[in-house]
C-alpha cells in the first residue's frame, strides 16, 4: 500500500523535475490556451451584455484544447527512449505508474489554468471567483477527470499511426459530461445564479471522477500487459 503511493510520488517528482528543466509541456499549453481565449473573443462584440453567457464556455474550451496538446507532449516525453517500457518492467505496480502520470498531468494542467485565468479575467473584464469560490472547485474537479481519461488515451494514442490526432478524437466525446457540467457551473457562478443549482453538476463531475478512477485502476494492468 505504502509502496504504491511511494511509486506514484517518485513518478510525479521525476515529471516535475523534468518539466522544471525543459518547461515544454506547460509553456506550449499556456501559449495555446491564451490564443484560444483571444481568438474566441471575436465571437462577440466587446462589452456586449450577453458576453457573460459565453465566457464560461470559452474558458473551458481554452483548457480542453490546450490540455489535449499538453497531454500529448507529456506522454511523448515518456515514450521516446522507451521509458514507459522500462517502468512497466520495474518491480512496481503498473497502475501506480499510470496514476503518477495522471497526477503530474494534473499539476501541469493546473499551472496552465492558474496562469490563464487571471489573463482571461483581464481580457473579458470579469471575475469568475467574484460570487463563489466554487469556480475553483469545479475547475479542479473537471481537470482531474480530464487528466484521468486523457492520460489513458494519450498513452493509447501515442502508439497509433496518427498519434496526436487520435487523442482528441477519442477523448472529446468521452468528456462531454465534464464540459457540460463545467460550463453550467461557471455560468451559474459568473452570472450570480442560484448556487444550489450547481450542486447536481458538481456531483456529476464527482461521480465521473470516481467511476473512471476506479475502472481504470481495475483494468490498467490488463491493458498494458502484452
Amino acid at each position: 500500500m505504502k509502496k504504491y503511493f511511494i511509486t506514484v510520488y517518485n513518478i510525479v517528482e521525476k515529471d516535475l523535475l523534468l518539466e522544471l528543466k525543459s518547461k515544454e509541456v506547460v509553456v506550449s499549453m499556456l501559449l495555446f490556451s491564451l490564443l484560444v481565449v483571444i481568438v474566441f473573443s471575436f465571437i462577440f462584440e466587446p462589452g456586449a451584455e450577453y458576453k457573460n453567457d459565453l465566457v464560461g464556455g470559452i474558458l473551458w474550451m481554452a483548457f480542453i484544447f490546450s490540455g489535449v496538446l499538453g497531454l500529448n507532449k507529456s506522454m511523448l516525453n515518456e515514450t521516446t527512449g522507451g521509458n514507459l517500457n522500462a517502468l512497466l518492467l520495474a518491480p512496481v505496480d503498473r497502475s501506480a505508474v499510470f496514476f503518477g502520470k495522471v497526477v503530474s498531468n494534473f499539476f501541469f494542467l493546473a499551472v496552465m489554468e492558474a496562469i490563464t485565468i487571471p489573463i482571461f479575467m483581464i481580457f473579458y473584464n470579469i471575475n469568475i471567483f467574484g460570487h463563489s469560490v466554487l469556480s475553483a472547485v469545479v475547475i479542479l474537479m473537471g481537470t482531474y477527470g480530464f487528466s484521468v481519461l486523457g492520460t489513458l488515451f494519450s498513452l493509447i494514442s501515442v502508439k497509433t499511426k496518427t498519434r496526436e490526432v487520435m487523442l482528441p478524437l477519442l477523448l472529446l466525446p468521452l468528456i462531454i459530461p465534464i464540459i457540460l457540467a463545467g460550463i453550467q457551473c461557471l455560468n451559474i457562478y459568473i452570472k450570480n445564479g442560484d448556487i444550489t443549482e450547481s450542486y447536481k453538476w458538481l456531483k456529476l463531475i464527482g461521480v465521473f471522477d470516481v467511476i473512471f478512477t476506479a475502472v481504470i485502476f481495475a483494468i490498467f494492468d490488463y491493458i498494458v500487459e502484452e
Binding site: L18, T80, L89, A90
Partner: protein, 235 residues
Amino acid sequence: MTSKLIKLDEITKKYGYLEALKKVSFYLERGEFLAIFGPNGAGKSTLLKILSSQTRPTSGNIYFDGVKLADLPSDFRGNFGVISHQPFLYENLSAEANLRFYGKIYGLKDISKKIDDILKKVELFERKTDYVRTFSRGMLQRLSIARSLLHDPDIILLDEPYTGLDQHASYILSNILKEQFENSKTIIMVTHNLNRGYDLASKIAIMKKGEIVFFDDKVNVPEYEFEDIYLAKVS
C-alpha cells in the same frame, strides 16, 4: 531450493494464429551464461519478453527456483536487468538524475554510492551531472547499461546489446558481462554476433521459427565447428 534457477516448460506464444514460440522447453542453472542465436523471426526477442514478464505465454509455464512465475509477486521483476536497443533514459535529466530516479523506483538504499560505483564501471563518472541529451551515442549506450545494472540484478537479459555499439562501449560491455558471470549472475543474451556470443557464453542455444533447434554446453561445442553447426541448423 533446486539449483534450477530458470525452467521453461513447453512455452507457447501465439499472437492471434501466429506462433512466435512453439513449446519451448529448457532449463538454466544459477550462474550460467546462455547465448541464444538465430535468424530474425526465430522468436528470440519474444522469449526474452516472456522471461522478463513483459509478455505472458499463451500456454506453458516458467519456473523460477521451482515456483511458477504466475505465482510470484510483482516485486520479482526487481531481479531482472534488461538491456535492449531502447536506452530507457530521460534526455532532459542528468545522468545522475536518471539513475537516481530508477534507483528509487527499484527501492534501492545507498543510492548515491551505487550511482557512483556503476558510473565508474561504465566510465561515465566525469559526466555524472551532464544532461543526457548532450551524450554521444556510445555514452548513451554505456549509461543505458549502467541503468540496467544499477540494482544489481540476479538475472540479466540482453537483446542484441552489441548492435550499433561503438568499440569502447562494446569493450566495456564485454568486461562487465564477464565480471557479472564471475559473480555468479545468470545471464541470457540474444545476439547475432556468433564470435562474441560464443566467447562469453557457458551454454549455447540456436532458435529457428519459434523452436530451439540446438541446446548444449559450450564445452561440447568446439569453436571451429560452431559456425558450421549454426549454418546447418538455420537453413
